[in-house]
């Protein structure tokens, strides 16, 4: 079980902005969270809520320009990753922090063999010789469940199916025994059976290797099954944070509550029970001066249009950025 006292990764007040032709896009607004050793942290939120941009900002993997990391700190190993020199950052990338990207079909280089792409980080970070790297690459492919690994090292990405490519991506991310693995929707592009296999595999690897994992997904079902703790993102902000059971039992933010209602429950689910959240996601063209969810919120009060709520504790290890929820907790205590 994760130790609540320590953190491996601590993100404070991260702000990322894109300069586009149509003006600025404030994709990540004042995001703070921490990751504890051995923990699986789920990140959910609708499309465009800033999940990928947040995680890529941590390792400065966004194209600069158009992206710009305005402010924030990312503490890892006693250093601020946003301010370390290029060499230190490169030692972390692919070494201590592995990254699995959203789209397995395009994330591998089409003109190099899978073996070469897998051996690259091994040689760079672990200083392995060519033959040692090849042996380890074969082991990694076996670890992620690719049959006939020795032969497949010589194959090119197009010779692998989508699910197999995602496994290769996971193998690359795991290559140097990272302390942290960031997996950006590692299963979205896959069909359900492969999805289940990959989830199973990741969970097993996480326990075996004892690393902390950040798992981004749209799929609340997956989160319920594997996460220890969950961040809910909306409009470039973290609107709620809680241990997984607490969140599903007791969603405090109206967005989270609505999000949970969109999931058809397994027992007696009918199409008419499937709700959608009315309205449009917010336009992120300025730093938010009000609650980003207010236009779609059923419980909004007048204050929501004037101020952007900060996250306040609303339960054990549970906080939410909502005036209404905070007031409820307050009154319950009095």
């Amino acid at each position: 079980m994760p130790d609540p006292g320590q953190t491996v990764l601590e993100v404070r007040n991260l702000k990322t902005v894109f300069q586009t032709r149509g003006g600025e896009v404030h994709a990540v607004n004042d995001v703070s969270f921490e990751l504890r050793p051995g923990e699986l942290l789920g990140v959910v939120g609708e499309s465009g809520s800033g999940k990928s941009v947040t995680m890529m900002s941590l390792l400065k993997l966004l194209p600069i320009p158009p992206a710009e990391i305005r402010s924030g700190t990312v503490k890892f190993d006693g250093k601020d990753l946003l301010r370390v020199d290029a060499d230190t950052l490169r030692a972390v990338r692919g070494g201590k922090i592995g990254f699995v990207f959203q789209d397995p079909m395009t994330s591998l280089n089409p003109v190099f063999t899978v073996g070469m792409q897998l051996m690259e980080p091994l040689r760079k970070h672990m200083g392995l010789s060519k033959s040692a790297a090849r042996t380890r690459a074969r082991e990694l492919l076996e670890l992620v469940g690719i049959p006939d690994a020795a032969r497949r090292l010589k194959d090119y990405p197009h010779q692998f199916s989508g699910g197999m490519r995602q496994r290769v991506m996971i193998a690359i991310a795991l290559a140097c025994d990272p302390k942290v693995l960031i997996a950006d929707e590692p299963t979205t592009a896959l069909d359900v059976t492969i999805q289940a296999q990959i989830i199973e595999l990741m969970k097993e690897l996480q326990e075996r290797l004892g690393m902390a994992v950040i798992w981004i997904t749209h799929d609340l079902g997956v989160i319920a099954g594997i996460a220890d703790r969950v961040l809910v993102m909306y409009g470039g902000q973290i609107v709620e944070q809680a241990p997984v059971r607490e969140l599903f039992a007791n969603p405090r933010h109206p967005y989270t509550a609505a999000l949970l209602k969109t999931v058809p429950s397994v027992r007696g689910a009918r199409a008419d029970r499937l709700t959608i959240i009315e309205g449009q996601p917010p336009i992120l063209n300025a730093a938010p001066a009000a609650c980003p969810f207010r236009d779609r919120c059923e419980r909004r009060i007048e204050r929501c249009a004037r101020e952007n709520p900060a996250r306040e504790p609303v339960g054990p290890g549970h906080d939410a950025a909502c005036f209404v929820a905070a007031a409820e907790v307050e009154s319950a205590h009095v």
Partner: protein, 340 residues
């Protein structure tokens, strides 16, 4: 791959036969008379005799067949026997230029080295300059370097060699004092023999202007192409993966991105090779380089039909051949392409 190449080569045969027919018929229909350059005092009967002695009296299909067999069989056989001595040369008269009465193939082979030296070198120089420009322009998109590169390419694209060539002559041959380092000869001296350092240096200097004019064009085109291809690839997801693995920028760009970007560029470079012979026609004329481009111009002016037909056909063969080479290179560079 080998079966693919053989299949393509076989497919090229009907294509080339068709092209040869078109070339032959078009030039046969073209106005112009081999005797038009002869003095006006020659009487008409004599002119008619000359025409008949050149084989012009025969029907067109006979003449076509003679020309085709000569070109694809007898001439190669002649050179093969000359080179190896394995068999006697074929007992058919060589194809002669109407203008000089020398074998057309001999003239072409004699002139080819000049063309290759000037035009070929210009192409190599142009490509070698273009690739780094394209890479840096893309990596530093919208930087001062990129803007300058765009400007130079625009010039290279929009100014034809017959203008830039003359401009070069005006600046470097006319405008510079004769003893200055920046003075370059405007006339290419083919009789120059490289025997020592001094003549070598002279040879280099007389190649500077024509090479510069031709290289400007090549550089403009290839550097734009390289830039576009690099930009295409720099935005790809696999580049982010490479960075996320902790690779240095030089490895990311010069290995991962470049290897992908070179695929279309290599193809374009290969496809451009036959075009350089065509492009050389004007530049050779300006700098008096007696290569095959200049030969084509002279032959056209003299209505020297066999020479024009042969040169045109050789260009056609080069185009078909380099198309095949481009396709094969594509298949070698891109593992996703399989031809068989």
């Amino acid at each position: 791959m080998l079966t693919y190449v053989i299949r393509r080569l076989l497919m090229a045969i009907p294509t080339l036969i068709f092209i040869s027919l078109i070339i032959f018929l078009l030039l046969d229909l073209a106005p112009g008379d081999p005797t038009s350059q002869l003095p006006l005092t020659i009487p008409d009967e004599v002119r008619q005799q000359i025409r008949e002695s050149l084989g012009l009296g025969q029907p067109v299909h006979i003449r076509y067949w003679k020309w085709l067999t000569q070109m694809v069989y007898y001439e190669p056989a002649y050179y093969l026997s000359q080179a190896t001595g394995w068999f006697d040369p074929p007992e058919v008269a060589r194809m002669l230029s109407w203008q000089t009465r020398a074998p057309v193939m001999d003239i072409i082979l004699e002139r080819l080295p000049q063309t290759l030296r000037v035009v070929g070198l210009a192409y190599v120089v142009g490509v070698l300059i273009a690739l780094p420009i394209g890479i840096i322009s893309a990596y530093r998109q919208y930087s001062v370097f990129d803007q300058a590169g765009t400007f130079v390419s625009m010039i290279g694209y929009s100014i034809p060699p017959f203008f830039s060539g003359v401009l070069m002559i005006v600046i470097f041959s006319v405008g510079m004092p004769r003893d200055s380092f920046w003075w370059f000869p405007s006339v290419y001296d083919t009789t120059l023999k490289v025997v020592d350092w001094e003549t070598f240096w002279k040879q280099v200097r007389q190649m500077v202007l024509p090479v510069m004019v031709l290289a400007l064009q090549t550089t403009a085109q290839i550097s734009r192409f390289m830039r576009a291809s690099m930009l295409d690839n720099l935005g790809q997801d696999y580049v982010r993966t490479a960075r996320a693995k902790g690779l240095t920028e030089s490895v990311v760009v010069m290995k991962h991105v470049l290897r992908n970007s070179m695929i279309p560029v290599v193809t374009v470079i290969a496809l451009g090779v036959p075009a350089i012979f065509g492009g050389a026609i004007i530049t050779e004329q300006i700098f008096k380089v007696n290569g095959i481009g200049q030969f084509l111009i002279i032959s056209i002016q003299a209505s020297d039909v066999p020479s024009v037909q042969t040169l045109t056909f050789i260009f056609a063969v080069l185009i078909v051949l380099f198309n095949l080479i481009a396709d094969v290179l594509y298949g070698i560079l891109d593992p996703r392409i399989r031809y068989d």
